[in-house]
């Protein structure tokens, strides 16, 4: 634990990536194998289940610090991180623990099953004994969500340096389902073990947004275009008559999309498809809002399956006949994918079952070829009509890379929809935005029953402003607060912002009756007063007419 806390302290004491990677590398070279596995797990968001709920944690921490609970809560809103707040308010201790990181984590796993009394005693003992950083790390391990400015990518890079194993290969090994409590460092990192790979997805290749003009990409004949679908990026794996569906967040979501069970026996074993899970109500592509009703549901009811069925819009194939084909050019991978589609279609036709082609929820994301960049731009303008977010441009000879890389793939989104709205509520941010009001709620005008104009909340946004603008607005909010509701403050309606968003749909879950997709602040309209902001009717006017 000492070394791990020291590592976190070092990572915390620098703003430079090279120094962070070096600190992690040094740690991986020194730490014992068990601690290494747990460190990898913790830094790749594989924390053990939370042994104590945060309500109890907050109550006990305020008791241990001898302050009223409300004062602890206020401090937490300002500090912006629960573990950090606990480490700060409890009186200083200067001991450190010789117990290893692994021992602590095993204790925490065991703690889950203990009585509240035992849990409390365990926490008190460690809080009162450990020094600030160890106490912070200890509590952070309990609360989970170990975000400390080290991405999984940085961690993988450091591990690659320490083990001299290629970074991309390591990224692959660390994917998928593994249990830090049972796997050894040897098995996880060093060994080649075929059977472990059964469910493993490949690291996703991610595109950057295009910079400047699409035409700057050179000869249009070198490029394919596809629509950029707005669903859940996923990999669908078929191996050994088993199906695995992974989301981009490395979450195994097979059970959430039972529709895809139909792939087994139709798509051959040794196939990995990269595509987008899309809602497909009434045989047409739905909105992301439709998909929201499926995300996060543990139990998918037959009614929901019927109301919002999903399809896989496939655009790439990473493994074929058991071979990793990511290095083959995109154009060849697409040929294989298209052949697969043809086979699936024929299979399902020839089979003497009632299955028709439409029953297999596998759709192809068509690649399009254009003769000029102008033609391509025209297709992009059709994006909303196609229910896409814009276009993806993929170089025909591009391999399938690991992570976010520039050069071969670009996303070229449609310009967002925009509306001018009034700032009405603000909340403090977290992490590097702690103690700063950076999370805002925006409202539009609406005529109420008495025919008076009132502001109706329609979206929350917390990105799009510069640090300097956030600071200015933060100072203004502190001086213009009307009411406080815990961490939230209502403010005098005064500031107008141009809010941009990707999509829009009617929604019963929203007070305004409208859901916007990925709203963010495009501009601070200091030139406008609140009466010049848009109305809810204006917003409704942006909903595509066929909905």
């Amino acid at each position: 634990m000492k070394n791990f806390a020291l590592l976190i302290k070092t990572l915390d004491s620098t703003n430079k990536t090279t120094v962070k990677v070096q600190a992690l590398t040094d740690y991986f070279l020194k730490a014992n194998d068990e601690d290494k596995v747990w460190t990898i797990a913790v830094l790749s968001h594989r924390r053990p289940p939370r042994p104590v709920n945060t309500t109890l944690l907050r109550t006990w921490a305020s008791e241990s610090a001898n302050i009223p609970l409300w004062l602890f809560e206020e401090s937490y809103h300002i500090v912006g991180d629960l573990a950090e707040t606990i480490a700060l308010v409890i009186p200083a201790a200067d001991q450190s623990s010789d117990k290893s990181l692994t021992t602590f984590l095993q204790e925490m796993i065991a703690l889950k099953k203990k009585t509240d009394e035992d849990k409390k005693a365990y926490l008190y003992k460690n809080w009162e004994m450990l020094n600030y950083y160890e106490r912070f790390v200890f509590t952070k391990l309990i609360t989970g969500g170990f975000r400390i400015g080290v991405s999984q990518k940085l961690m993988t890079r450091a591990l690659a340096k320490a083990t001299e194993i290629d970074e991309d290969i390591l990224a692959y090994k660390l994917m998928g389902n593994w249990d830090p409590n049972t796997i050894s460092f040897q098995q996880l990192v060093l060994e080649e073990n075929e059977s472990d790979y059964l469910s493993k997805p490949y690291p996703f290749y991610l595109a950057y947004a295009i910079e400047g003009e699409a035409a700057d990409l050179g000869d249009i004949n070198d490029w394919f275009a596809e629509h950029k679908w707005d669903g859940i990026r996923s990999q669908v794996i078929l191996r050994n008559d088993d199906l695995f569906v992974w989301s981009r967040g490395e979450e195994l979501v097979t059970d959430k999309y039972p529709e895809f069970e139909k792939f087994v026996g139709i798509i051959p074993n040794g196939t990995v498809i990269d595509g987008e899970i899309l809602p497909f109500p009434n045989e047409t592509i739905g909105t992301f809002n439709d998909l929201q009703t499926r995300i996060g549901r543990k139990n998918v009811t037959p009614a929901l399956l019927k109301k919002v069925p999903v399809i896989l819009k496939a655009y790439d194939i990473l493994e074929w006949e058991g071979e990793d084909i990511r290095k083959s050019p995109f154009i060849e991978r697409r040929e294989i994918l298209e052949k697969l589609f043809k086979d699936v279609a024929e299979d399902s036709r020839s089979e003497a079952t009632e299955r028709s082609r439409n029953d297999i929820p596998l759709h192809q994301s068509e690649t399009m070829h254009f003769n000029s960049w102008d033609e391509l731009a025209q297709e992009r303008d059709r994006a909303r009509e196609m229910h896409s977010e814009g276009l993806m441009l993929k170089r025909k000879d591009s391999p399938y890379l690991v992570g976010r890389k520039k050069g071969d793939w670009w996303k070229w989104k449609v310009d967002p929809l925009t509306i001018d709205a009034v700032l009405t509520y603000a909340m403090r941010g977290h992490g590097r935005r702690s103690n700063l009001f950076t999370d805002y709620t925006f409202a539009l005008w609406k005529d109420n029953e008495e025919g008076e104009k009132e502001l109706v909340t329609f979206a929350k946004a917390y990105s799009g402003l510069t640090d300097a603008e956030f600071r200015k607005l933060d100072a203004w909010i502190k001086k213009n607060t009307l009411e406080r509701f815990g961490p939230v403050r209502s403010v005098t309606p005064h500031h107008v912002f141009e809010i941009a968003f990707e999509g829009i749909a009617l929604s019963k879950r929203h007070k305004s009756g409208i859901a916007t997709r990925f709203p963010r602040m495009l501009r601070w309209r200091k030139d406008k007063n609140i009466h010049e902001a848009n109305t809810l009717e204006d917003l409704k006017g942006l909903i595509p007419s066929h909905e």
């Binding site: 308010v89 400015g149 935005r433 700063l436 100072a475």
Partner: protein, 341 residues
């Protein structure tokens, strides 16, 4: 109801009986000034009264003004109201202002800290009936480590950077923090370079305190000269081209706000040292207790939260809005333009 001895008006804290303002934020005739930070000593008053150690500071900052310097504890009577200044320990020349009329005593702290920093006259608790206190760090999350330990860490940090052939850049307010740091930097490690704003203020204070030698960074200063040495700069210089020319360097900030990990990360500073010229949570509570005051008025900082806690502890506590605190807030830091070198 009788008029309170001190009132909170749109111009500032006002003693009607004496027709005097304490740290007013709008131009007035008579002002008693607690200390030299810009949010407490503003332009445009006709007469200033302050501690004599603050006189050179405000003359430097405000130019030609009509100012009278007082000793600690020296009483001066205006319209039967007795005023005196008492050390606040915040920065050099910083005072609490004691106001007495017919046996009723009010104390206004301005800004203060309880730890003796070795360059400001140490804080003394003053018995009073009503205590007007700042509470910049009025949350239990703020707990200061003794200065000696923090300063040792700062010197160690400098030595480590030197060993790596890098320039150390340390940010601190040009009045107060910069001199406190300067006083204790270990000149065996290397030389101390300064930003213009800090050099000028330090020059003003040299007759009052013995400081190590500093060298002003000018256009002629080569970045090779700086390698291994330390540069003292105001927070507003962070991210400026002035700093960028000094590569390779490592940055650090010395401030109470460095308690929060997020605050350091947000500013993109490498290292944060928690060193404040204000009271921490315990310091605030202990000072209030030591004054024996029954009434407490909380001004700038986490005033709502802090006064609620005081009420729970049995004090008659409330908050009053002032225009103090800008000196130390992020907004003020961000908006202050980088001083020319």
């Amino acid at each position: 109801m009788k008029t309170p001895l001190l009132q909170f008006t749109s111009n500032g804290i006002y003693c009607k009986k004496a027709q005097v303002y304490l740290d007013p934020w709008k131009p007035v005739d008579h002002a008693i000034i607690s200390h030299g930070h810009a949010d407490h000593s503003r332009y445009g008053h006709k007469k200033y009264i302050t501690h004599h150690r603050n006189v050179p500071i405000i003359l430097h900052r405000l130019g030609e003004i009509n100012v009278t310097g007082k000793e600690w504890g020296e009483t001066f009577i205006i319209n039967n109201v007795t005023f005196s200044l008492h050390p606040a320990g915040h920065i050099i020349g910083s005072s609490q202002i004691r106001v007495e009329h017919k046996g009723e005593v009010w104390v206004f702290t301005g800004d203060y800290k309880t730890e003796n920093d070795g360059i400001s006259t140490p804080y003394e608790p003053i018995k009073c009936d009503t205590f007007i206190t700042e509470c910049t760090f009025g949350l239990p999350a703020f707990k200061w480590t003794p200065q000696a330990e923090v300063l040792e860490n700062i010197n160690n940090w400098w030595a480590e950077n030197k060993a790596e052939g890098k320039t150390s850049i340390l940010f601190g307010y040009s009045l107060g923090k910069a001199q406190r740091l300067l006083k204790y930097l270990n000149t065996d490690i290397g030389e101390i370079y300064t930003h213009g704003a800090i050099e000028n203020m330090t020059e003003v204070l040299r007759p009052l305190v013995d400081f190590p030698k500093t060298t002003l960074i000018t256009k002629e200063t080569k970045k090779e000269q700086l390698l291994g040495n330390i540069v003292l700069a105001p927070p507003s210089a962070h991210g400026s081209t002035w700093i960028r020319k000094m590569v390779p360097y490592v940055t650090a900030s010395a401030s109470g706000w460095m308690t929060f990990r997020g605050a350091r990360r947000r500013r993109a500073i490498d290292k944060g040292f928690v060193l404040s010229d204000h009271c921490d949570w315990t310091g605030l509570l202990q000072s209030i207790e030591a004054t024996g005051a029954e009434k407490v008025i909380c001004t700038h900082g986490y005033a709502d939260i802090f006064s609620k806690y005081l009420r729970e502890q049995g004090y008659d506590a409330r908050t009053e809005a002032t225009q103090y605190g800008e000196e130390e807030t992020e907004t003020a830091l961000a908006s202050k333009s980088t001083a020319a070198v």
